[in-house]
């Protein structure tokens, strides 16, 4: 028996026209990608920003919203170190009038308070420097300045690279981005700055009142500057605490004395996160030293995980003291 099957007719011209997709260059690149990994890299997906606190929201060391004198090679805003050469400057944490493209950010400003040939900038040293060895990466930042030579400056432990692009010096927010390649695979650190510096990496003329304000600082692998990656406050704080933390006022730490003898009370204080290295510890504020309280703590054995605390007041064997009233900080910055 013969069976005859009829299929609906198709219009070949219409089918071919459908194949002409309106894809642009980036779309074509995605189509050409051989693997999901390639597509991932093309769009810069995933955790991109290698800068911590790029939105300038975390300031554990203090409230710097009032302009005050800044010291060279000193941290105020979390993870950012001031770099001042031959000039003095005021620092200020700015909480309003950030770029409209960046919501929920703050910014940091350095304003020169002297006139000289020098440099003025703010730097972040990235812990995982090996990521950059022999790699292409892109830095981007929002900058407001009135100085004509504000650019990126990168140091890998032996080689310096100055950005060729400069921020527009008109006192308005502008987006600065530039792609760099570190050919050498021998870097021993990685720091990147937004700084007033000549293209040759030497000093520039800085005048009292010159300022640099930045926010939305991002460094990512690859040659594409993607939109600023916002992280939650809690996540950003935890990242900062790997390098520095400061507690709120301590309500009480219980510091008992062991049964062997009378003497100082002891306790083990656990850092809020696992730190980069054993931190330098400090106490701040006023600690109660009246009866039952331990006074200000001293710090003993110290690890990345925690530190031994000792009271400065003695108690009886099996006695208990409270460490109360002050704050504790740990500094493991690079």
């Amino acid at each position: 028996m013969t069976v005859r099957i009829n299929k609906p007719a198709i219009n070949l011209r219409e089918e071919l026209a459908d194949l002409r997709k309106p894809s642009g260059t980036a779309g074509e690149a995605m189509l050409r990608a051989e693997t999901p990994q390639e597509q991932f890299n093309l769009i810069g997906a995933g955790r991109r920003n290698l800068i911590i606190n790029g939105a300038c929201n975390i300031s554990q060391r203090g409230d710097f919203t009032t302009a005050s004198s800044a010291s060279d090679e000193t941290y105020y805003l979390d993870r950012f170190e001031q770099n001042l050469g031959s000039v003095t400057a005021n620092k200020q944490h700015i909480t309003s009038n950030q770029p409209s493209a960046l919501s929920n950010t703050k910014s940091w400003r350095l304003t020169a308070t002297s006139t000289a040939a020098g440099f003025m900038g703010i730097r972040q040293t990235i812990e995982d420097y090996k990521l950059f060895n022999g790699r292409e990466f892109t830095a981007s930042v929002w900058v407001k300045t009135n100085h004509p030579s504000v650019r990126f400056y990168i140091f890998d432990g032996s080689t310096t690279v100055q950005g060729k692009k400069t921020a527009v010096a008109d006192g308005e927010w502008h987006y600065l981005q530039e792609t760099f390649t570190f050919d050498a695979a021998s870097g021993t650190k990685f720091s990147i700055e937004v700084i007033s510096l000549s293209e040759a990496g030497s000093v520039t003329s800085i005048t009292t009142g010159d300022y640099i304000e930045f926010t939305g600082f991002q460094v990512e692998l690859g040659k594409v500057a993607t939109p600023f990656e916002h992280r939650s406050y809690g996540e950003e704080l935890a990242l900062c605490q790997r390098f520095y933390y400061k507690t709120d006022t301590i309500i009480h730490i219980i510091a008992p004395r062991y049964s062997g003898s009378a003497g100082d009370g002891n306790a083990w204080w656990k850092h809020p996160v696992y730190m980069r290295t054993a931190p330098a510890m400090s106490y701040h504020g006023t600690w109660y030293a009246t009866s039952g309280y331990g006074g200000a703590p001293t710090f003993g054995n110290n690890t990345k995980d925690g530190v031994a605390l000792t009271t400065s007041v003695s108690t009886t064997a099996n006695g208990v003291l409270y460490l109360t009233g002050g704050q504790i900080s740990g500094d493991a910055e690079l």
């Binding site: 054993a278 330098a280 003993g300 000792t310």
Partner: protein, 176 residues
Amino acid sequence: MFNINTSELGGSNIYCQTHNHYIPLDPANRHYQEVLDAIIAEGAACFDGDIPADLQAAADTKKFNQQLADYRTATARLAQYIVSVGRAEVVESQATGEQVWDEDAMEMVDVMHDVITVTAIDPVEATVTRTVYSDDIDAEPTEETIENPLITVDVAERADAQATVDATPQPVKDAA
């Protein structure tokens, strides 16, 4: 001013009286490195009591490594040509990789050719002439002849490098 803080429970750290820091004996901590820098710069004057031997040894090692790095940088700078003198061309005879039969020696011998291994650089002009403008806008500009700034910078950098070499202790030079 620093002192060693020893816990009753064992273990010790460095107490910085100036900044109220308890600094771990950990080379990865930047404050520890600052203690070493202070010992290098000030010696015992920065310490309340004796500097522990291991801390002094760490400071000595850091100083040695700093001097070694400075010495290597200085000698590399001195090895560069003097801009006022220039540099002569250096030609070396090198094997091409090809060999031919030498009937006299009865063996295969390398074919050689001359290769310029160091290119010649002419000395820069000893002096340059520049126009000097007066504060008086009615005055005519004058000309003055000065030492070529390239030579001035070269001489200064070489002098600095030589001073570094001269100040480097012999054990550091021996290790370079």
